[in-house]
């Protein structure tokens, strides 16, 4: 659309949008990162009427005109009572946010193209019940959260899956319209939290049979290797407990493959049958998952990094993190912004 074809309403709307963006930028400058935890003070709670608020204002205006026209004192009284309630709603709504302590909970890493769940812990320290708090990021909004006085509650937000990478939590918006819905109070939070998105696993064997055979050979070879038996340590996967040994000896034992030996599976960047970085990472991811599922020790070779062989959840996490971080500078999670700065 050419600029000259913009209608006045449209131009006004675009100006409004620009103004809003300016305000958001200003606010963003005011509030930098909050770190892991923050308390909402008066200096960072904003409040504006909602559309319902303007509707009520119009209705009260008509009531007042009627009261004046008919010199009706009871109409004056009711109108003023409602004006009082509406005015006090500023205070009620503001208080619903004031003094709230918010902290970011660690985000569970996800694989690419899986929905992401972000959680904040909200805590009341003032002994007031809080109602209908909405956490939102971009255009995504949580279910209303209620917090009992001196209690805490977790606000969960489901975001659409981003691509592989390491992200920072984008600016969060904590808002409420409680109790009357005529005012919207909100605060922008800059809680920091790392979001890890692993590559989407892709079976390399499905694409290229050659490599699949190779991997299969590894597997067969490893299957013939005798296992190393050691006593159970907390944290060992239950799938590898020797139940028969437990029945015999009454003690827990674990079947463990020996790390670092010639049985070790090396998951190697250069051996992936793809030239595209993301495709290779996806295949590497699949291999790590397969190795972990089989309970084998494995090591990872990337162009800029080598992960020594190991096994278990920690090794899995290290490996997948390496894939997520591979040639990726942390950026804020890309989330679509709503057109309107305020939202339900």
């Amino acid at each position: 659309m050419r600029a000259s074809s913009l209608g006045p309403a449209e131009r006004l709307r675009s100006q409004g949008r620009r103004l809003r963006e300016g305000v958001i930028r200003w606010v963003a400058r005011r509030h930098r990162d909050d770190g892991a935890q923050t308390t909402l003070g008066r200096d960072r709670i904003y409040i504006l009427p909602t559309r319902a608020g303007y509707t009520l204002l119009a209705i009260l205006g008509v009531m007042l005109l009627g009261a004046i026209n008919y010199s009706n004192n009871m109409a004056f009284l009711l109108t003023f009572l409602l004006i009082g309630i509406g005015h006090n709603a500023i205070w009620y709504t503001h208080r619903n946010l004031l003094g709230l302590k918010a902290s970011a909970l660690p985000t569970t890493p996800v694989f690419a193209n899986q929905p992401l769940s972000v959680s904040l812990r909200l805590e009341d320290t003032c002994g007031r019940d809080r109602e209908a708090l909405h956490l939102s990021i971009g255009e995504y909004t949580s279910e209303p959260v209620a917090i009992p006085g001196r209690g805490q509650q977790v606000a969960c937000l489901s975001l659409p899956a981003p691509g592989r990478g390491v992200y920072r939590l984008p600016r969060q918006h904590l808002g409420t319209q409680y109790p009357l819905g005529i005012l919207n109070a909100w605060s922008w939070l800059g809680l920091t939290s790392e979001i890890l998105v692993y590559p989407q696993p892709v079976d390399p064997g499905a694409a290229h049979t050659g490599l699949g055979d190779q991997a299969g050979a590894h597997r067969r070879q490893d299957a013939s290797t005798p296992d190393h038996i050691r006593p159970y340590r907390p944290g060992d996967p239950p799938g590898r407990i020797l139940w028969k040994a437990l029945a015999r000896t009454g003690k827990l034992h674990i079947r463990e493959t020996v790390a670092g030996g010639r049985d070790t599976l090396w998951i190697d960047w250069s051996s992936m049958p793809a030239s595209d970085t993301e495709a290779r990472l996806s295949m590497l991811c699949h291999q790590i998952l397969t190795a972990e599922a089989e309970g084998r020790a494995w090591g990872l070779r990337l162009p800029d990094q080598t992960l020594p062989p190991g096994q278990g959840p920690a090794q899995r996490e290290r490996g997948l993190r390496a894939l997520a971080e591979f040639r990726f500078e942390p950026i804020p999670l890309p989330v679509a912004e709503t057109a309107r700065g305020t939202k339900k």
Binding site: L77, G84, V145, A146, Y178
Partner: protein, 680 residues
């Protein structure tokens, strides 16, 4: 209508409460709306409730549009318009009900509830009683609770909603009061004639036609309430003049507004001056009843040259005004009567009352120039001849004066006043008829005078040179008790039926109780009307003036509002600080501090040092003051229980009570060896 899942329910949370609040808000309209409106609203609400309970979807948009058009059409058929008080209210009610019926999402409920507030305010078109005010509070409370539930995001407990909504109303109350008092008032209306739809009220008529007031005399509704500031004049002096009638056509007396305004007479002796505040019901007329004889009037009233008081506009709302009267200062005292005025006050149609004129000629012959003797002769005639006072006089035909004076000889104030005026005019004494109110009922509760329409009265004023217009009440001659004790003092003479409310004596206890209740109700209504309903630009001006402010100056209004809200903010600040729940741990610490300070005062150096643990401190105290050992031990025990042991709330409270007692206990050393044994 499809069966839907419960998925839409979170959005519609609060609908149940809205379905309760909206009918409550609309209920008072049932008495004023056509039946079909009431039925339609009830049907829509019942249908929506049923749909909600069965978890079904509301009717489709098309059907709703059809229904709305149908309801609008019905309203138009009924009223011929969609605007104005009655039609507008009917339309509002119907639209609110349809909005509720079609409610699909939260926004719909919110709009419905906002309309509910509007429905409450339209109630006042029809009724402004205290009962309606209370009902409005209930409605607003429920509507607000519903609004809270809609936005709560989870179902809240009833109690919590009720409390929350209630507190919101309480918090808004001071706002309401400040705005009510200080919001700039202008004299309505801004458009249209707001009173067009209102029902007619009974008021004094601008004409006096013997037989007219009778319907007023049966009417027990209150027309006016008066509070006296200072002394209360005796009943026989309580004449409230409203209309002055000089023109007589042989049958009817006609009131007129006077030619021009004149100055009020200066009040005489201050102990004769009576100051009062009157609350007058709307009369739709301009006259203002004032106590005889007015010496001070409200600003928007004028004293006319016929000694009648009129307001600058018709009285269409209940008004309140302050005025003063000097009981002993008849109008025109010390002045001369102009020739034209004298002629007007003597005018009689040539053919009127021949028999009366003949009689008066006899009196003149007897008494010569003595006007007072003539007046007395007329009053004596009423007292002596078989005249009687009755509220059901026979109808008069032919010449009303002669027929009343010589044949029927039965009537009430109007008959006597009219006949007396004719007699006086025949004798050449300028005379006029004054109508207004006389007597009234003294309400012990609230200490105010209540004048009903039944207290309407008519009397005369005769001109005596040098003395002015002197009041003569011929009714006092025939029925002095009417004047002394008001119309209630009449004992229905010849067993003629009297209106119920006039016969308070000799009634059964049920009626006595009823009248007792009536008195209470009138008192409450009086307070409500004089404090709330009668507050108008005039009253606001007076109130502002009391604080040295000018209610017509916006700067003073801003000042008043600023001071009001400033005070409110200060109170709110103090209150919120006071109400802030003390941190639970602070209480035992405060008590510890108090005890420590008291011990320190007994013996310097024995107070607890800031870093000192309680146990160390108590040990130190016990060494220095063994007599305090049980006290500090017990204190430390309970203190530690409260502070460090997780206790149930009631245990906590018990410990705190003990701590409080201990911290306040007597610390004096028991006098082991009293120097002087005390004798009792």
């Amino acid at each position: 209508m499809n069966r839907s899942s419960r998925q839409h329910l979170p959005e519609l949370r609060g609908l149940e409460l809205a379905l309760l609040a909206l009918p409550v808000a609309a209920l008072p309209h049932a008495w004023h709306q056509p039946l079909w409106v009431t039925l339609l609203v009830a049907a829509a609400i019942l249908l929506r409730s049923w749909l909600h309970l069965r978890d079904r979807k509301p009717p489709s948009i098309g059907l709703m549009a059809l229904l709305a058009a149908f309801a609008g059409g019905l309203t138009f058929l009924q009223y011929g318009t969609l605007f104005g008080q009655e039609a507008g209210t009917a339309l509002l009610l119907v639209m609110m009900a349809l909005k509720l019926l079609e409610t699909r999402n939260r926004r719909d409920i919110v709009i419905g509830l906002f309309l509910g507030y509007f429905v409450v305010v339209t109630t006042y078109f029809f009724d402004q009683s205290m009962l309606i005010a209370a009902w409005s509070l209930l409605s607003a409370w429920l509507l607000t609770a519903a609004l809270v539930q809609v936005h709560a995001g989870r179902p809240l407990e009833r109690r919590r909603l009720a409390k929350h909504s209630g507190w919101m109303m309480v918090h808004a109350f001071p706002f309401m009061l400040i705005l009510f008092v200080a919001f700039p008032r202008v004299q309505g209306p801004l458009w249209g004639d707001p009173q067009r739809d209102e029902v007619a009220t009974t008021a004094l008529s601008g004409e006096l036609n013997p037989g007219d007031i009778a319907e007023l005399l049966q009417d027990e509704t209150t027309t006016m309430r008066v509070q006296f500031h200072g002394s209360v004049p005796p009943p026989r002096a309580q004449y409230w003049r409203a209309l002055v009638m000089t023109d007589f056509d042989g049958r009817r007396w006609q009131a007129e507004g006077g030619q021009s305004s004149i100055e009020l007479p200066q009040p005489g002796d201050s102990d004769r001056v009576v100051a009062y505040t009157a609350t007058l019901e709307p009369t739709r007329m301009r006259y203002l009843p004032v106590l005889d004889y007015p010496v001070a009037l409200p600003d928007n009233a004028e004293y006319r040259d016929n000694h009648q008081v009129v307001r600058d506009r018709r009285i269409v709302n209940r008004i309140q005004y302050d005025a003063e009267a000097d009981l002993t200062r008849p109008p025109g005292a010390g002045e001369a009567l102009s020739r034209s005025a004298r002629e007007r006050a003597l005018e009689l149609p040539p053919s009127a009352a021949p028999r009366a004129r003949a009689e008066v000629a006899l009196w003149r012959a007897t008494h010569g120039d003595d006007d007072r003797a003539i007046i007395q002769a007329a009053l004596d005639r009423f007292a002596a001849a078989p005249y009687r006072y009755t509220l059901q006089p026979p109808t008069l035909e032919g010449d009303v004066t002669d027929q009343f004076l010589f044949e029927t000889q039965a009537g009430y104030c109007e008959h006597y006043a009219s006949a007396f005026a004719v007699l006086m005019r025949s004798a050449g004494i300028p005379t006029r008829v004054v109508t207004g109110y006389q007597g009234g009922e003294w309400m012990q509760r609230g200490e105010y005078l209540r004048l009903r329409n039944a207290d309407a009265h008519a009397w005369n004023e005769v001109w005596l040179d040098g003395e002015g217009w002197i009041r003569v009440d011929p009714t006092a001659a025939i029925a002095p008790e009417r004047i002394e004790a008001g119309i209630g003092g009449l004992t229905g003479g010849d067993g003629e039926p009297m209106p119920d409310f006039l016969r308070r004596d000799g009634l059964g206890w049920v009626q006595q109780l009823r009248f007792g209740f009536e008195d209470w109700r009138d008192f409450a209504r009086f307070r409500w009307e004089s404090w709330v309903l009668a507050f108008d630009p005039e009253r606001q001006r007076e109130l502002f003036a009391r604080f040295g402010l000018d209610a017509t100056d916006w700067r003073d209004i801003v000042t008043a509002l600023g001071v009001g809200f400033g005070l409110l903010a200060a109170v709110a600040l103090v209150w919120s600080g006071w109400r802030r729940p003390r941190r639970q741990l602070e209480v035992p610490d405060r008590l510890l501090h108090r005890l420590s300070r008291r011990i320190e005062r007994q013996q310097t150096g024995l107070g607890r040092r800031p870093h000192e643990p309680v146990i160390t401190w108590t040990r130190r105290v016990k060494v220095a003051r063994p007599d305090l050992a049980p006290l500090v031990d017990a204190f430390a025990e309970h203190y530690n229980r409260v502070r460090f042991a997780p206790a149930r709330p009631d245990d906590r409270a018990r410990h705190l009570t003990t701590l409080r007692r201990l911290a306040a206990s007597d610390l004096r050393k028991p006098a082991a060896d009293p120097p002087l044994p005390r004798t009792t």
